[in-house]
């Protein structure tokens, strides 16, 4: 298997896993922001959205401070479980997840805002528990928006560079994803030709993601 194919597969694996991990958390938070009032809501909202505006490199640095081998949380992970996250494949998953998370949460929030709470009340009057209302009414009716947000988050995860290079490093076969590889190739004298296939794949996947996102948003509006 040549390097390029390996890089593409690794990128897809990291972006897919990070998206799959953030979907349940992001859906829950989006629902919380849309439907509930609670103390510390704006604080939590700000925290979730920071990676959207923070330079990704800074996000990566903050992740390193938190989860690195001598970080606030990382120290305990290492001591108690012998886990070291920084500069591993998992670090790339976490970096992608954190950076794309706000995009997902925002989409879910908008999608759930659109679901008529009166339908949820109708469910309650049919003896449906809050969990059943959530899974059988709210989520299915917000599904198009949740899918749209997930696709956007996946595309963003695939393009993640700054946070990944700081927190996960640029290790071939381990954490070197498409953007990191393109960056590496352009620093090599003969790199431009090696980068071509990666550029094409990146453009095609990104374009398809945006198309799918648009399609889902349109379906959400028409529903």
């Amino acid at each position: 298997m040549n390097d390029q194919l390996q890089i593409i597969l690794l990128s897809l694996k990291i972006a897919t896993l990070s998206t799959l991990i953030i979907i349940p958390i992001g859906t829950y938070l989006g629902w919380l922001f849309s439907r509930k009032r609670f103390i510390g809501k704006s604080l939590l909202d700000g925290l979730v959205n920071i990676p959207l505006v923070l330079p990704p490199v800074v996000t990566g640095y903050l992740l390193l401070i938190l989860l690195g081998p001598s970080g606030f949380i990382g120290r305990f992970l290492k001591e108690w479980f012998g886990i070291n996250l920084a500069f591993t494949w998992w670090a790339a998953v976490i970096a992608s997840g954190v950076v794309s998370f706000p995009l997902l949460v925002r989409s879910v929030r908008v999608a759930i805002d659109v679901v008529d709470p009166k339908l949820e009340d109708a469910g309650r009057m049919l003896r449906a528990s809050e969990a059943r209302v959530f899974f059988k009414i709210t989520i299915p009716l917000a599904a198009n928006g949740i899918i749209a947000g997930s696709v956007l988050a996946f595309a963003r995860a695939l393009g993640e560079f700054g946070a990944t290079i700081i927190f996960a490093g640029n290790i071939l076969g381990k954490t070197q994803t498409i953007p990191l590889a393109v960056f590496t190739y352009f620093n090599q004298p003969d790199g431009a030709s090696k980068a071509t296939s990666l550029l094409i794949v990146a453009v095609v996947i990104s374009y398809l993601s945006i198309l799918l996102n648009e399609l889902m948003l349109r379906r959400m509006k028409n529903a």
Partner: protein, 356 residues
Amino acid sequence: MLSLKLKKHWANFKLDLDLEIKPAFTALFGPSGAGKTTTLNLIAGLCRPVKGEILIDDRILYSEKKGINISPQDRGVGYIFQESRLFPHYSVQKNIEFGLTGTPQEKRRFSFSEIVEVAGLAALLTRMPADLSGGEKQRVALARAILASPDYLLMDEPLAALDLTARLSFLKFLQEIYRKFKLPILYVTHDLASVLNFADEVVILQNGKNIGYGRPYAQLDQMIAAPLVSSADIANIIEMKVTSDKSSKGLTEASCGELSLVLPHLDCTIGEKLTLNIPASEIIIGVKKPDGLSATNILPGKITDIHHLGERILVDVAAGPKFTIEIIPATVERLGLQTGKDVFLIFKASSFRRLG
């Protein structure tokens, strides 16, 4: 028995109810802004009163003093909303089943097939809510609510979007549901005229206060009721059996006990049951048996009651079934109408509307 002792205040509105409602088909009636929907939402637990108590029999749903506030799920109350609120992503069948699934086995009193049959929904089960008419949607909503086996059924103007004939047929169906399943109904409406023939009791609500409770026609005499039924037609619902089919002459004959009527030709078979409506304003009243009229249906009867509704007068006449006839005050004087007087009712065959 549904007991309500409630207070709730908003900036510009105050709800203050003190009411005990017998288990029956009860219409909760009042002008817009009287607090009807709020009352239902409070009973359902969808909003919270400030003070007071809500009980169904001796089961406390809400009590400020005792700190009890049962969740909407556990109140055992069904709710049919104005806009039906069917789940748009589920078929009719799945919508109806939704009411059953959440109900624990030991609380289930009705079966899916039984309710689907009574509601006449068998042919619609695979359809999606978007493909249903207004009346069909409300039948589905009703079936769904009944399958959750509630102790009480709340309905919030479920027929506002339907035309008069569809409205009356649905009410007829609702009355059957009540009689068949003994499921008490609290039915909110601002259209008293159409529930007069169906409801057992009426509660009248004005400015957040209950100001009347009793038999529907008795409540009509309350001044408040007058402007509220002023623009609406009072219906007369009669059930008849087809006795002969004279389609060659474009006529159908139907009878109900002594009463026999000639109707415009209807698509029906001899022996079939008919439910008909004739508006109170389309019946003519006479003190002598008329002669030489184009109308073919002339019935003798006796006045049993006269109600005053502001400028309108409603005369109840027993002529086999009871009919309500609407006239203007001058007619009462001119004809010397009074309770106990013998009169004749004249109907145009084309004034009858078939409901079912």
